[in-house]
């Protein structure tokens, strides 16, 4: 194994999974939003819910399709680049991945088609059920993938024989110490990401005086959800952080750039962490706040990186900064929520142009926060793939050379830089067209297009549903 093959393999995995995670981060929330709209339509029979639901179902179909296509790559990367990791952990982790695949396939096959194409073919209750099952399916996928990821962070329920992990207790493996926090944190993050996109799209229409009633509904629902979830996410984040302090203290020391073990530690708002010299430059510290936040006690002791040999230190600057980006975005979200209530109280929520512009600009914030959070937790896990037990350097495929991985990374870079812009532009166009009452969705992944044969007008006519 060459050192460059290791670092390039890490970059390649980061590149592929970072693009992939954007889609589930969005579709998990969107599937639930669509399910809520479908239930509301079924219950109240107001056409506006149907219009909004059909509109977001079109966007859902494209992003879900791209999520599946980019997800196919992931399991193969475990084999091609991380074969020693696969050999060592498969007995424990592979069933979790396989259950994700099976259940996603099961629910997708059985219910996605009904959700996308079946409104005219099945009774109304069955369509609602399909929407609920698809939402449940995305949550189940998150469940299994995060169980596997959390096990890598806080392994439990296994025994280690000759360098390979064997299962002892499946409940402990799945419900390992960091899993509940990570699952809650990620699912709420996904809901927030979706809510910000819905909010941004609603603001986009309101600023242009289009689809006013639909946009008000979207905006009101999105802001209502954010009002609950943003503060909740701060709370879950705090619990998750305390869980990290208990089980991955070295990661936490890196996130907070703490080099020495001490009580009354400050909170470092900004610094340039110098890993070589093991100290912070240009630090902006708030005294005692670090102890207070991390241990909920201003006298609390927080361990510094000096407690571990250097060979076990994670990178410091990257988790330090990405964590601050994530928290900074959370602060922006809180400001947005507070501003929305202030405007709502004055009856100007849907008309304050500056606020609408802010909502538009805020729509990608959820994605940025998710990426920043993932970089924090995954880089902070280094130098381990299975925390404290299996080193990343011992996980990579021994046969690879730097050139091999450079070539494959270039391949993934080129292909993703073509596919994603085209897909995003495609979704943007759908947004520009707006919720026009059409219910036939666009399905990239199954190749079922809105109008299969565009040249033939007769086909387009039969595809449109007459509004009820």
């Amino acid at each position: 194994m060459s050192p460059s093959a290791l670092i390039l393999s890490r970059l390649q995995f980061a590149w592929v999974i970072a693009w992939h995670i954007l889609l589930p981060a969005f579709t998990i929330g969107l599937a639930s939003y669509i399910a809520v709209l479908e239930v509301l339509f079924f219950w109240r029979r107001e056409k506006i819910y149907l219009t909004v639901s059909s509109f977001w179902t079109k966007i859902f179909a494209v992003s879900f399709g791209m999520g599946v296509v980019s997800g196919i790559v992931m399991p193969f990367l475990f084999g091609t680049n991380w074969s020693r990791f696969s050999d060592a952990t498969a007995n424990v982790l592979a069933p979790l991945f396989a259950y994700e695949g099976l259940m996603a396939f099961f629910l997708e096959a059985a219910f996605l088609g009904v959700l996308l194409f079946g409104r005219k073919l099945v009774p109304a209750w069955a369509h609602v059920l399909a929407a609920l099952m698809v939402a449940g399916g995305t949550l189940l996928s998150a469940f299994w993938i995060l169980a596997a990821n959390s096990w890598m962070q806080t392994p439990a329920g296994f025994e280690l024989v000759n360098g390979r992990f064997f299962p002892k207790d499946w409940l402990q493996i799945i419900f390992n110490p960091s899993f509940p926090y990570r699952l809650a944190h990620m699912v709420v993050a996904s809901y927030i990401t979706t809510a910000l996109v819905v909010l941004g799209v609603a603001a986009f229409y309101l600023r242009r005086n289009r689809f006013l009633s639909e946009s008000r509904l979207m905006m009101s629902m999105a802001l209502g959800l954010l009002t609950i979830l943003v503060p909740l996410q701060v709370l879950i984040g705090d619990l998750h952080g305390r869980n990290t302090l208990e089980y991955q203290p070295a990661k936490l020391a890196a996130i907070e750039a703490r080099w020495t073990t001490a009580s009354h530690v400050p909170l470092t708002l900004f610094a340039l962490p110098d890993r070589q010299a093991a100290k912070n430059r240009y630090a902006l510290d708030v005294p005692d706040l670090g102890s207070l936040i991390l241990t909920h006690d201003r006298n609390g002791t927080v361990r510094g990186l000096e407690d571990w040999p250097r060979s076990e230190w994670p990178p410091v600057a990257l988790p330090f900064f990405t964590f601050r980006i994530m928290v900074g975005i959370a602060v922006l979200m809180l400001i947005l929520v507070v501003a929305s209530w202030w405007l709502r109280a004055r009856g100007r929520l849907y008309t304050a142009r500056g606020f609408l512009r802010l909502c538009e600009l805020a729509s990608p914030l959820g994605f940025l926060a998710v990426l920043a959070g993932w970089i924090t937790t995954e880089v902070g896990r280094q130098p381990w793939t299975v925390y404290g037990l299996l080193r990343t350097a011992d996980s990579v495929s021994p046969s690879l050379t730097g050139t091999d991985v450079a070539l494959s990374l270039a391949g993934y870079a080129v292909v993703y830089l073509i596919i994603y812009p085209v897909g995003i532009r495609h979704m943007y166009r759908t947004v520009q067209r707006g919720p026009s009452g059409e219910t036939q969705p666009e399905l990239i992944e199954s190749g079922l297009s809105e109008r299969p044969i565009q040249a033939l007008p007769s086909a387009t006519a039969t595809d449109r549903e007459t509004p009820p």
């Binding site: 193969f76 091999d404 596919i419 109008r451 595809d463």
Partner: protein, 338 residues
Amino acid sequence: MSALIPDFVPLWTLILVLGIFFYVLLDGFDLGVGILYGFAPDAASRGLLMNSIAPIWDGNETWLVLGGLALLAAFPLAFSILLPAVYFPVLVMLLALVFRGVAFEFRYKDVPHRTFWDHAFSYGSALATFSQGIVIGAYIQGFKIEGRQFAGSSLDCFTPFSLFTGVALLFGYGLLGAGWIILKTEGSLQEWARRQARRCLIGVLIAIGIVSVWTPLADPDIAHRWFAWPRIAFFSPVPLVTLLLAIWEWRSLGKSSAHAAPFLAAVGLFVLSYSGIAISLWPMIVPHRFTLWQAASSPGTQLFLLTGTLFLLPVILMYTSWSYWVFRGKVRADIGYH
């Protein structure tokens, strides 16, 4: 292995063998349609060809993921040796499948670049197929292994034999694809597919012949497996039935009343080639090195996953069959699917 824990390896072998076969058969014909797409006479036929597989190709491709995950979960040692050994073919296959997958939709949506996406579709299908053929060839030849890891270079998999099996699979999937087109279309497009199918059939038969001579000559184990008495008596029907199927295929391609026969005969040829490989390798899952049992995951792992699989897999199979039933019959230009 403790006497109390039953041996799950045979069951997992069956699931894996069936899963890979479903993949090869199902994605094989839609990749084959993609390969022939590049040769289609006009834009209208290209539209029909794409429509003939649009509703089902994604389900077909999911078997690749399930097959890969089943290999990782049930036989992780084989997974972790095979995949680094075929690093570049797997890379090219994945990228080609991604391109080809999005081409289905972007061809309709991204009209200014339609020619680009048409090419992405046909070249993507051909490249994915060629890469899978290289994987099969490299797999049959075996890998350089130290301990539990592949110890060769990422270029080892490119041999004259594996490049040959890559080309062979292009003809094989082309034959399946042409059979599917004959089943799903009528008139001049069907006639065109019959001509393509005959070309592919000639290629397939030459390939089967060469592989059948090449592998026993290159690999004494395989020669012994096939030709030692009394096994030759059990296995000799395999080439005989292959020959009969080839004759049936050729004849049905000439009969304009035969709509399903060319596809069925092509499936038959794939079943036999597949079992030929299985006979050559059994019971090794990493050729020359590890048996199915040596490469298997722990019984606890196999049991845990089996519990859910035995419930979910039949449902998935039922649903898949149902969706094929829904989209049965000829594709027609004047009817969009719903």
